[in-house]
Symmetry: C2
Subunit: 347 residues, 2 copies
């Protein structure tokens, strides 16, 4: 509202309640130094006048905005939605509001947002899947600006971050495929500048090695977590002289695209080829065949990130390091035992 006329301020409330506006301020801020009776009287006139404290003024005077900034790369997939749902749940009663910034994976945008935000707009920052945190984590840390990294391991130094056991998740999934009899598994990586993507790849390789299966380059397709990479990756594998019997995509979005590619070639899932994803986004269980995947507790990650941030906000000296949540293999319908050897010759 620009019409100041119809805005009720603490001065009006004070006059109406017969106290000084300082007292009203105390009531607003739950200051103990107010007599119960006085407090009640102020509270009453506040609700009678439909008083709502002006956020900008509070933050200008008090030095904090009660807003937390949320930087996300995108909102396209359910992935981010799940995380936000978790954050939102924690936010509910906290009194903080959420400012949303989508970077569209532009590192430049990311930095410019952050430098601005840090200048007083928000009290803390939640960074989902940041692209180049190295560029500003130093800035943030040095200024003691509260922040939590979500699904990113930070820059080596310990900074508050939350993620899942990427290495272990990929390792388990690969092991599962191997136990089923798969020996040639095509792996589509995520964006390898992201630690999570590297960890998944390493978990995959480790499982192969532990089972004395050679790691062959032609079975590793470098992707970026984007849908298209799943598609082209799958086609690449299918065009191989000796195609894999299973495809392991580093996220569900790519796995689903791989499914499309496979089907376009007239092959069936999982009869002709098995496919496994990573994340367990909501769609994973909705598509047919339901996608076997590694579940990351995204909603929980959001929740915990918010909790961590609140804790830091409450106690700036509180030291938080990385939190890793366990992943879980969700066995569904996109995986089967590999076809018998005989067929290999035919292909």
């Amino acid at each position: 509202m620009n019409r100041r006329s119809d805005k009720v301020t603490i001065v009006e409330v004070a006059a109406e309640a017969g106290v000084s506006f300082g007292t009203v301020s105390r009531v607003i801020n739950n200051d103990v130094h107010v007599r119960a009776e006085t407090r009640q009287r102020v509270l009453d006139t506040m609700s009678r006048l439909k008083f709502v404290a002006n956020r900008q003024a509070r933050s200008l005077a008090g030095g904090k905005s009660n807003i937390i900034g949320l930087l996300v790369p995108d909102l396209g997939t359910g992935y981010i939605g799940e995380i936000i749902r978790g954050i939102d749940a924690e936010l509910g009663e906290s009194g903080y509001d959420l400012m949303l910034y989508t970077t569209h994976r532009k590192a430049a945008k990311e930095i410019s947002y952050i430098t601005n935000l840090v200048q007083g707009m928000v009290d803390g920052l939640l960074l989902v899947l940041p692209r180049n945190p190295i560029d500003y984590i130093e800035l943030l840390t040095e200024r003691k600006f509260p922040f939590v990294l979500i699904d990113h391991q930070g820059t080596g130094e310990d900074c508050p971050s939350i993620g899942a056991t990427n290495w272990q998740g990929a390792y388990n999934a690969t092991n599962y495929l191997i136990k089923l009899g798969h020996r040639r598994i095509g792996f589509i990586t995520g964006w390898l500048d992201l630690g999570a993507a590297v960890d998944r790849l390493e978990g995959f390789k480790a499982a192969l090695r532990n089972n004395r299966i050679p790691v062959v380059p032609e079975l590793i397709h470098e992707g970026t977590f984007a849908q298209l990479d799943g598609y082209t990756g799958a086609l690449h594998f299918l065009d191989l002289k000796k195609p894999p019997t299973a495809i392991f995509a580093s996220n569900d979005v790519m796995a689903m695209a791989a499914m499309d590619a496979v089907r376009e070639r007239g092959m069936r899932i999982p009869d002709d080829i098995s496919i496994i994803g990573y994340d367990d986004i909501p769609q994973a269980s909705m598509i047919r065949p339901a996608l076997t995947t590694i579940r990351q507790p995204l909603e929980q990650m959001g929740r915990i990130a918010a909790q961590m941030l609140f804790e830091i906000l409450r106690n700036p000296d509180h030291k938080h390091n990385r939190v890793e949540l366990p992943t879980e293999l969700m066995v569904r319908d996109s995986i089967a035992k590999p076809k018998v050897k005989v067929n290999e010759k035919i292909l």
Copy 2:
């Protein structure tokens, strides 16, 4: 940052540039009354000092926040994500930031957010799929508070809103099914308190009537746009003495759930039964069989809503009414001609 010490204000910039801080303010606000040379000098020192104007102070003094509020029911489905993507695209260069509020479909939360927001926190409001706008549209209108309704037709009065041609979309889709030979079509409605849901139902009925097909109550299942309704609705139809040959769900989420139900009964899509959705969320084309659906231009709706809001913000007297975007039938793989009559007896 709570550490005021390391914040550079316009006072510092002024001192450094050798002008009064009023002049710096003019530069920031692109006031013409500044000599080009002076402006440049100020600009230079601003960037040298890495000055960033404090939003709260500007808004407190200037009476506007440069923030627009976005109220959404949820972030679960791609539906909202698409809309936000559109809003976000428009927001990009506008200088406005986005404050996100999720109501989780709680009308109470909706109202409390709005009353708060209207008190100066944001300059304008974008309301996606509001639940009970009638409760506050009056408040908003009377205060001349800028807002735009997205995917909601408002309350009869003309208020700025954007949506799609729901009636026509449902009509066309139904017609398409009928032309294919379907006579018994099960319709799962959306939440009928929403005009969009009613319009789709009416479009459906109108198409039946125009083709002299009776509208039978047992073929209309009342839902709420939630996933579960698609599931139970489909089961309800399947349990009918004479099940429909096609199911028309009022949104894609319910259509996908209906698919699950159908498959659990061991029936194939579209061979045994056809399914059509509404919205064309990203998943619709990703699932198998790809879902035939009515495309709502969600991203565009978001864009236009933002444009409308900016226009109102720029010129408060600008009168905007409802904008309706055309829908489009996306023919994919979940629809086929009905099975021959003979089978009907068997069921």
